[in-house]
C-alpha cells in the first residue's frame, strides 16, 4: 500500500500539487487520470522520488519514503520498477543488456542465471528472441514491452507506468494494457498507471484517482466512474470519447 498525505509541490511559486491525499491499493491496478498539465506526472515523480514534495508524506507499506536516509531510500527504490513514457531504454545497450542491467548491479547472479532471468522477462512480455537487438532497431510498442521487461527484472513490489499508451496505435495500446494487467495479477505487484486514455481506465483499472488542477477531484472504483456525478470527471470522460 502506498499512502500519500497532503502532498504539495510548487515550481517557481506556481503550485502544481495542492495537497493530494490518496492511497494506492496493493496488488491492484491503480490509475491516475487527468488532463495534460493537471499534475499527474508530477505526482508520480514525487511518488518514485524523482521530485521531492514541498510538504506532505508518502508511506510505502508504512515506511516513510520522504524521511528515509539515502541508503534506505535506495533499498526501497529497488522494489520499484518504472515504465517511462519514452521507454528510457539505454541506447548504447542491447535489449539483453538493458534488462540484465539491474541484475548485474544489484545481484550476485552468474551470467547464465542472468540470461535465464532475461529470457523469462522477455517471455512475460511476449518478446522472445530479440536479445541482441538495440533499442533503435525495434518499434515503439516493442520498446514499451522491453521497458516492462526491464522494470520486472528485479523482484519488484511496485510498478509505475507513465502514460504507457502514448504514441501507440490502438491495437498495440491494447496489448500493453493486457500485459500490465497480466503482470499485476501474476506477480501481485501494486501497479500505478498515469494515463488519460479512458479505454485503459475501463479495461484494466481497479482504482481510479482523478486529478484536476493539482487536486484530487475524485477517487473510486472503475464501475463507479460513470455514476460519479462529478461534472469535471464526466466532462473529461466525454471529451476523451468524443473530443
Amino acid at each position: 500500500m502506498i499512502d500519500l498525505k497532503d502532498i504539495r509541490k510548487a515550481f517557481d511559486g506556481r503550485e502544481v500539487l495542492k495537497g493530494i491525499t490518496t492511497s494506492m491499493e496493493p496488488g491492484k491496478t491503480n490509475l491516475i487520470i487527468g488532463a495534460s498539465g493537471s499534475g499527474k506526472s508530477v505526482m508520480m515523480k514525487c511518488m518514485v522520488g524523482l521530485l521531492r514534495p514541498d510538504s506532505g508524506s508518502i508511506h510505502y507499506d508504512g515506511r516513510d519514503f520522504l524521511g528515509l536516509q539515502h541508503k534506505e531510500l535506495r533499498e526501497i527504490r529497488r522494489e520499484i520498477g518504472m515504465l517511462f513514457q519514452g521507454s528510457a531504454l539505454f541506447d548504447s545497450s542491447t535489449v539483453q543488456e538493458n534488462i540484465e542491467f539491474p541484475l548485474k548491479m544489484f545481484t550476485k547472479m552468474t551470467p547464465a542465471e542472468r540470461l535465464d532471468r532475461v529470457n523469462f522477462c522477455l517471455e512475460q512480455v511476449h518478446m522472445e528472441g530479440i536479445n541482441s537487438k538495440f533499442p533503435a532497431e525495434i518499434s515503439g510498442g516493442m520498446k514499451k514491452r522491453v521497458g516492462i521487461a526491464r522494470a520486472i527484472a528485479m523482484d519488484i513490489k511496485y510498478l509505475f507506468c507513465d502514460e504507457p499508451n502514448s504514441g501507440l496505435d490502438p491495437v498495440t495500446s491494447r496489448v500493453i494494457d493486457e500485459l500490465l494487467m497480466e503482470i499485476t495479477q501474476e506477480f501481485q505487484v501494486t501497479t500505478i498507471i498515469n494515463t488519460h486514455d479512458m479505454k485503459t481506465v475501463f479495461d484494466i483499472g481497479d482504482k481510479i484517482v482523478f486529478i484536476y488542477e493539482g487536486q484530487k477531484w475524485w477517487e473510486g472504483k472503475k464501475e463507479e466512474v460513470r455514476q460519479s456525478g462529478n461534472p469535471e470527471l464526466q466532462a473529461f470522460i466525454n471529451a476523451s470519447y468524443f473530443g
Binding site: F84, A88, L89, D91, M105
Partner: protein, 245 residues
C-alpha cells in the same frame, strides 16, 4: 549571483559523484570503455594537430630568428620547449574540449531528456557517479597520455619541417631539444594536462547532466560545455604558469 549558483551546483555535483560504487566491476568496465573512447578515439586528431603544430612552429621560429648570430640548434630548443610547456597541452586540450567535451555533454544530455538518467535513479543507482565518474577518471588518465604523445609528435613535425625546408638538420634539431630539456618542464606539462582533463570532462558531464528540455537544449549544453571548458582552460593556463614557472 547566477555564477555562484552554478558553481555551487557544480561542486555539489562533483561531491555527489564520489559515493561508494554499487558494483565496482561495472564501474571499472565503463571506465575502460571510456578510456578507449577518449584516448584511442582522439589519437588521430591529436597526432595530426601535433605534427603540424611542430612543423609550423619550426618554420616560424626559423623565420624570426634566422641570423648568423643564432645557431640552428636554438630553433630546435625553442620549438621543443614551446611544445612541451604550452602548445601540446593547451592547444591539444582546447581541441579536445571541442571533440571530447561536446560528445560527453550531448551524450549525457540526451540521456537526461530521454529519461535514461531518471531510469537509473529509479533503480537506486547514483546516476551522477555512474555516468560521470568513469568519464572523468578516463579523461584524467588518457588525456595526459595524449599530451605526451603530442609533445613527441610535435618534435617529429619540427624535425620533418626543418629537414624538408633545409633550415636545420635533424641532428641540429635534436641537439637543441636535448640541450634545453628539463624534466621539470615535462612535469609542468603533465600538471597542466591533468588539470585540463578534469576541466574538460567534469564541465561537460555537469552541463549534460543538468540539461532540461529537448534536442535544442542538448545542443545548447554541448556548446556551453565547449565554451566554458575553453575559457577555464585558458584561465587555468595563466594561473598554473604564474604559480609553477
Amino acid at each position: 549571483m547566477h555564477f555562484f549558483q552554478h558553481f555551487g551546483r557544480y561542486i555539489l555535483f562533483l561531491k555527489g559523484m564520489f559515493s561508494r560504487p554499487e558494483k565496482f566491476k561495472v564501474y571499472m568496465d565503463r571506465t575502460l570503455l571510456e578510456m578507449n573512447n577518449i584516448g584511442i578515439g582522439s589519437l588521430g586528431i591529436v597526432a595530426i594537430i601535433a605534427i603540424f603544430q611542430g612543423a609550423v612552429t619550426t618554420l616560424q621560429i626559423a623565420y624570426q630568428l634566422i641570423s648568423p648570430l643564432v645557431e640552428n640548434p636554438v630553433i630546435g630548443s625553442i620549438v621543443s620547449d614551446s611544445s612541451m610547456l604550452e602548445l601540446a597541452p593547451t592547444i591539444t586540450c582546447l581541441v579536445l574540449a571541442g571533440k571530447v567535451g561536446s560528445h560527453i555533454a550531448s551524450e549525457i544530455g540526451t540521456m537526461r531528456v530521454t529519461e535514461q538518467i531518471d531510469a537509473l535513479e529509479i533503480m537506486g543507482i547514483n546516476s551522477a557517479g555512474f555516468i560521470a565518474l568513469p568519464k572523468i577518471v578516463a579523461g584524467v588518465v588518457m588525456i595526459p597520455m595524449l599530451i605526451v604523445i603530442s609533445i613527441f609528435l610535435s618534435n617529429v613535425g619540427g624535425v620533418i619541417a626543418g629537414e624538408a625546408s633545409g633550415i636545420l638538420t635533424p641532428d641540429e634539431y635534436l641537439q637543441g631539444a636535448r640541450g634545453s630539456f628539463l624534466a621539470y618542464n615535462l612535469f609542468f606539462s603533465l600538471i597542466k594536462a591533468f588539470t585540463y582533463a578534469f576541466i574538460i570532462t567534469s564541465v561537460a558531464c555537469f552541463q549534460g547532466y543538468y540539461t532540461s528540455g529537448g534536442a535544442l537544449e542538448v545542443g545548447t549544453s554541448s556548446t556551453r560545455a565547449v565554451v566554458y571548458s575553453a575559457v577555464l582552460i585558458l584561465f587555468a593556463d595563466y594561473v598554473l604558469t604564474q604559480l609553477l614557472l
